[in-house]
Subunit: 395 residues, 2 copies
Amino acid sequence: MKKIKQKVPVSFSYDVIFTEGLFDTNNELFAELIASASPEVARKVLFVLDEGMYEHHPQLFENIKEYARHFNDTFTLIEEPIVIPGGEAAKNDQSHVDEVHRAINEAGLDRHSYVAIIGGGAVIDTAGYAAATAHRGIRAIRIPTTVLAQNDAAVGVKNGINAFGKKNFLGTFLPPFAVINDSRFLSTLDQRDWRSGVSEAIKVALLKDAEFFSFIEENGEALDQRDGEAMDELIYRCAEFHLDHIANSGDPFEMGSSRPLDFGHWSAHKLEQLTDYELRHGEAVAIGICLDVTYSYLDGLITQNEWQRILETFKSCGFKLWVPELQKNAEHPESEDSIFSGLEEFREHLGGQLTIMLLDAIGKGKEVHEVNYELYREAIEKLKSYEQQLETQRA
Amino acid sequence: MKKIKQKVPVSFSYDVIFTEGLFDTNNELFAELIASASPEVARKVLFVLDEGMYEHHPQLFENIKEYARHFNDTFTLIEEPIVIPGGEAAKNDQSHVDEVHRAINEAGLDRHSYVAIIGGGAVIDTAGYAAATAHRGIRAIRIPTTVLAQNDAAVGVKNGINAFGKKNFLGTFLPPFAVINDSRFLSTLDQRDWRSGVSEAIKVALLKDAEFFSFIEENGEALDQRDGEAMDELIYRCAEFHLDHIANSGDPFEMGSSRPLDFGHWSAHKLEQLTDYELRHGEAVAIGICLDVTYSYLDGLITQNEWQRILETFKSCGFKLWVPELQKNAEHPESEDSIFSGLEEFREHLGGQLTIMLLDAIGKGKEVHEVNYELYREAIEKLKSYEQQLETQRA
């Protein structure tokens, strides 16, 4: 037996840029980004637009055309954008990936060309997966337009769509070419999309930084009332924590047993599915975190005061903390419509042993590998009654 | 404008192992490989078999089952293997990828489980693409069974299938978990598949190492007469050169302008397509290299003696050096059935500027960014007449 030990070090790098008015012709950022990195022959850019976002910004592609004319010596715009529907449900439909592949083929894009994706997390995931698999990876410029995408979904190294009823069953790890957060897109978000991303920021704060949690706690109502400055700060800091976690985990493509920042997500993924995607991802994450925080409290890991502060912060940001789907078939964990079946789906997706993140203190997570169903059922009850109490206080 | 500069270093490593009789129960290699790397819960292995290979080894899966029973404390065999057709043409059919995805889903594989792929390069590319995109990458163990796959296709970091009539339009860069070359599979190859892989070894020798070329030159007839020892040596050294090129290129995922070892490949890919995959990949590569070697000679880069030695080496290994498709519409490079349209397809797939590898000497390549169609047409004629001359000598 002979053996050759192969090592393949790969170094990815990308900028996450915060700007306003990306396609104003006096904003040179986008044109410079492209001019700096590609040979002239390849400076083609295909745009993929989120249908919902595009309805709120009907002039957007006209602006992009004007921008492209203004900078026509630095890049070539593919004249027809691809428009695909947003929202998690759209990730169940493989045909959107096929559509982006077809457009990449027809436009003759190559690995030094660009797919610029403007939209929410689902559209960025879907079109990002298509770009990652065409010619083994066309450069993706992600331009997220929701709070959730700007501070979480779009800054990382993953893409994907759902298949066989499983979240992100198809996808790859591939860093983007660049991420550009344009705060102007946030102003047209409906209240639910504005709010949704805040839960991921609370998640990061709970796991990583008590001071960041205090910032959100203090600004909960301001955020709910669409204070732009508070939101800019929240997005920047949340994105920064995420990027730091990816860069310094030692295992950014999760090949070993390292864990992504997925607190509250085992039940959140399942709740999205059980509510037929009526709950948006960030809304489901809020409930998922409140459940695991309540479980952590009942398990003696955090104090009553910590538990209350966290739930009240979610509430002040405008989140629901509980839905009836949490209790459906809770006595039958193996049943497909029981919230607890999400545990095995979660384990399968990450691979290896089950690992659930709980809370040891505000700012500090704790991993466990087993759960107590009885205690979880108690946590679901406790969460329900505490939410009712908070509702009564606010009424 | 604010900016976060993100760096994501990822370190992949895998072993390329040479063995004989992989699924003999006294060969612990496979079981140890799995036991060493996964938590117990995840030691599931799904096999994907190349239909053509399986016809030559009808007992193979029974052997694997016995092997799995023998090592049942180290891994769990998924009882139904997936069997998919081999050969480049099968890479045009997306349904084989879907089939592997379905099987991965049904078997509940996770990112710490394994897809073991036994077959030629096309099956390894196809099933490897499916594994790379399920759960963002299930571990692939490649067990190549042809010379071409053992010394070239299966040792590297790519996978993919064809789409829109373009070679490897869909695919990813993702290193395998391990590669295992079992020399026993080579004995049942038909003569064309035995021979096919030799052209990639000649390619590597021409670009990298004059001494390795001399080895092949001296062993051409022995190889054609199925000398196992010469073939083992050829495969090992060729795989070693490939692995070294990938590890030390500084850009293994070809994100910049670094080039894979693709000498002769712009026309080879096109010839496979123009002959409706009648030509196997290695056969097309032999012709493609002979064409670019002849062009290099006419362009004054190599001597007549070098040119003749190279063509004679290919001939002694049993290769055809010329096919009529080289001349079809040679006057109309832009025509889709002209060999020269392969230049633009090649440029598009690699991205950026056109780069063609020519030969500066035996053992030394030279990149050029422009070609002279007239000189190429002359090279096609020259190659045709020299092959006729060699045929006459051998008759």
